[in-house]
Symmetry: C2
């Protein structure tokens, strides 16, 4: 790592840069990135999903958020980097304190949002420090054994899965571009492009997006920027007339024809490089939301039917896993976390349309579960602890849907304090599941419903309650979310969100109850104010042995019995033998 840092410093010196920002993001600004673009990992050894390094000639600093403050200490050398909190002491603030007037900070504008670069220019400029946007990436120059680009052929998703042709989607989205008086829109996020074209990439199995961005014009034709070796035969017929494919580097060339036109782009989510190119081409940059975001978030009936079918298969796999686990524990086989995760994978992978996991399985025994983003692959896997709880957060990418489910399981008798906390967490889960709310309500308004019982007892959990989920797309998608922090997107019918309150006690245990929910209109036709509500998509039993029944209201017990009855009715046709017996027992009616 020291040599890598040294070579980077030499390269910086050659170009006259006093500081260089190396973010974790790649040129698509996504959460999952191909190995070839893991620049921060190459430089520092850090494997987290968010963070940044800042390198100066004689100092370097590493910035990570609360999820990774422990991990960074074991992965990054503290003699080479000082550690800072990404949110409380962000890179720009730290940089402004290190540098003097006349010095220069470099960044690769492909790896940052336009908003970030504008902010950087302003913050540094106030100190007399200049920002250089240099897209000839210095890390790439120093990275001698950088992996080759993976080019795998994309999948063309049939309308039987998508419910709408790519042409129809383009026409609909073009109308939204017209509504804001623009001539074109930059569709930057790979999952937006993938949804729009009914295409899925296979370069990164967990995130099946076509690595690409696009320019959609107000007539509905589209310039797609991607390596065309990814496009299978039949692509042109699949997407219809009016789609031209260009290498990403041709973006500036295509823009040359757009001089004087109004181009919609999202300063917060699209790269600085693309928007700087729009400005440089003489087009007018109109700040606004990617029109695809909301359309993609509101699933159509075909997507919802597929998602329900995927959840049924996923529920069978998860329930068979839980049944197997119960048997193994009863037989005294306390497996390690890797064995457990592998068995769950094996069961899931046998399901129809299975493509990959939707994220690295969090298989966490004992105290490991206190780390919300624990990964047993980062070191020696832990082993199930007797009289404790095991947390398993996992999901699948199926051609017809994406799943994400967490169950917390008693291993022996974890005792009354764990049962009390699990019950408080599940009460919050139930309160959010049962919520009804008028149109216009945001996830921020509902978040407290999931936390209220923990709050009442002096507890909380330090992550969001729910994130959006795609259909055979990203397991984390916006714009909706259920969290403490503001987001102005109202929950709308067809949106999928997770419902995952939890509780974590450092060094002791962790627990989480997660179902995916879909927003739908309530049936109550004579309601004065029409209400929206949720329907749980996830089908898997909760561990009732973890309940403190004295803390549940009759309504909560009714909810649990009704949910378990639905789980049993849905899954029993697909399980047999010991699995069926376990499922019957796990979903048996519990008393008030």
């Amino acid at each position: 790592m020291e040599q890598r840092l040294d070579s980077l410093r030499r390269a910086m010196a050659e170009r006259g840069y006093d500081a260089l920002v190396v973010p974790r993001a790649d040129e698509f600004l996504g959460e999952y990135i191909p190995e070839r673009n893991e620049r921060l990992h190459w430089l520092t050894g850090f494997t987290g999903s968010a963070g940044a390094a800042v390198v100066l000639a004689d100092r370097a600093a590493m910035f990570v958020d609360g999820r990774y403050t422990v991990q960074v200490q074991s992965q990054v050398r503290d003699d080479l980097y000082s550690f800072h909190h990404l949110v409380d002491e962000p890179p720009l603030q730290w940089l402004a304190e290190q540098l003097e007037s006349g010095q220069t900070v470099a960044c690769d504008p492909r790896l940052h949002s336009y908003q970030w670069c504008e902010q950087a220019r302003e913050t540094l400029g106030a100190m007399g420090v200049s920002l250089v946007c240099d897209s000839d990436n210095l890390v790439d120059r120093c990275w001698t054994e950088r992996p080759e680009e993976v080019i795998r052929e994309a999948l063309l998703l049939d309308e039987a899965f998508t419910g709408e042709s790519a042409e129809s989607k383009r026409v609909r989205m073009a109308a939204l571009v017209a509504q804001v008086d623009c001539d074109a829109a930059l569709v930057f996020a790979p999952d937006s492009v993938s949804w729009l074209l009914n295409v899925r990439g296979t370069d990164m199995p967990q995130l099946p997006v076509l690595l690409s961005f696009a320019l959609l014009d107000v007539q509905g034709s589209l310039a797609l920027f991607t390596d065309d070796r990814r496009l299978p035969a039949g692509f042109r017929a699949h997407v219809g007339e009016g789609v031209e494919v260009y290498p990403p580097a041709s973006f500036t060339g295509v823009l040359a024809e757009m001089s004087g036109r109004r181009i919609l782009a999202d300063p917060a989510n699209a790269s600085a490089w693309t928007q700087q190119a729009i400005v440089a081409a003489g087009a007018e940059l109109v700040a606004g939301k990617d029109p695809v975001l909301l359309a993609k978030a509101c699933k159509n009936p075909v997507e919802l039917a597929g998602t329900r079918a995927a959840h049924l298969r996923d529920g069978v796999a998860v329930s068979r896993f839980l049944a197997w686990l119960a048997g193994e524990v009863a037989a005294g086989n306390l497996h390690d976390e890797a064995v457990l995760a592998d068995e769950l994978y094996r069961l899931r992978a046998g399901g129809e349309y299975f493509h990959a996991c939707s994220f690295d399985t969090i298989s966490a025994a004992g105290a490991n579960a206190a780390m919300c983003h624990y990964n047993h692959m980062n070191g020696e896997p832990g082993t199930l602890q007797r009289d404790s709880v095991y947390l398993c957060d996992s999901g699948g990418q199926y051609l017809d849907g994406t799943t994400d489910v967490t169950r917390t399981v008693a291993i022996g008798d974890p005792g009354p304090e764990v049962r009390r906390l699990f019950t408080l967490v599940l009460k919050g889960h139930i309160a959010l599941d049962r919520a009804r709310f008028p149109r216009g309500t945001t996830g921020m308004q509902l978040d407290a419903l999931a936390r209220q019982y923990l709050w009442a007892e002096g507890f909380d959990f330090d992550h969001g309650t729910g994130h959006g989920v795609g259909v055979f797309l990203s397991v984390h998608e916006g714009p909706q979310r259920i969290s403490k922090t503001a987001g102005d997107t109202a929950l709308m019918p067809g949106m999928i969100v997770s419902n995952e309150p939890g509780y974590y006690r450092d060094g002791r245990f962790g627990m989480r109850c997660e179902n995916l929910l879909v927003v739908r209109e309530c049936d109550d036709a004579d309601a004065e104010t029409p209400m929206l509500g949720f329907e749980a998509l996830t089908l898997a039993p909760f561990d009732v042995s973890l309940l403190d029944m004295t803390l549940l209201t009759p309504e909560e017990v009714d909810w649990l019995n009704a949910y378990h009855a639905r789980v049993a009715d849905s899954l029993q046709p697909f399980v047999s033998g010991a699995d069926a017996a376990w499922l019957a027992s796990a979903t048996a009616v519990i008393g008030h």
Copy 2:
């Protein structure tokens, strides 16, 4: 009204204006304004607390929000004005559709926020229409019988009421000005200035603010802009060294010395005129929050003790009123709304430190209560209806505190539907009252707690759940609130908010349950996450005859019994005879 409109149009023509905006706000941008400044009322006849007229040579339009869409039709002539929704179709949008390039819109920059004027300039400018800021108000020119300015002597509030000297407050606030690297701050709101100087105005009894604004410099000295005839003997000794008094018109002169300095001002809440003057003086305008806002919102122990004492007196008055009302109804005396409001006033006015009502009492019988902002003074007062509910929302300004309370009372038997709805409303009130939450939580995050039971049954109410309240200051103060709409101010210890869910059925009935609450730290010393919670300040029984007991949980019944026990214990020493008997009965323990 027609003559007034004509004279205004002639004046507009003389100055070459094609349109004039006449808002309801006056030069202090407050909610209550002196009669002399009721320009919108003079021009149109409209008495609501928010709205605007826009006058063109051949058309005129009136803009009001949802609270006043009925009222405007009875008060404003529809042959002179077209009616529009203030929020859905705001004046600027309407104006942009009426005018052509080259035309001119005039406004008085003293009556608008800086933000509004900047927005107007941009919106109109895009159409080629220019905005003229003309502080020589045209309405004032035409208003021949405009009331003289009321100049009444202000009150100097002793530290026994305020808990902190004016000098100490200035030093504390100056430190906040220094924190944002400014040389001075514009303290624009009259209630901010009144709090800062421990002074209360008497021009408008319901809102006891000194009509003034101020410039606080980073050393803590203060330039106060007000008519010095309002300042009583002893003012200078009261506020301490470093306070200079100027007539408001001298503002530009004082600013002349500030050229090149950084002045903090709030573009959304301070007038355009003041901020345009800052810019014109060559000072740098720094957009930010009035530092006084948050300090004023978090009451100190002396303010809280005073507020509790005021609520005790207020609770005695309200309870005696409710006892009297019960007796009158039992005796068959179905009074009109004015008689009821007057009796409540009489009882309140007998209390120590009573100064005035904190707003016009909402005394609403039968269907009148379906209008949230009903005022029986606007027409013939209604009469109590048998087998219905009576809603009374009222409050007092006391030297030691400000109160605001709503009780809904059964008149006879209003039937099961009203009882069901009242119980859902009270369940929401109880849920918010009982909420515990970590620091950093905003009122928006808690709002759904108060609505959840109505939402579950397909109902909602169309107003905020809670507003901030001052101490012998405005009954509506920010920055905190509990509502569906975002506000980034977290609830902090010492803040006072109302808790007032309601339900309204057009043409039938209305109900609301309102207590004031103070935010405080929870006692639970061993909580893992320290929590905040509420303490109810208001002391008056809820009408238990309006409850559907089958809808209440045991915990809610316990809450009601505990609250009523506290009400009885607090008030019984101060009531006697029939009042005492009624109070004992109204607060008697109810069963599960």
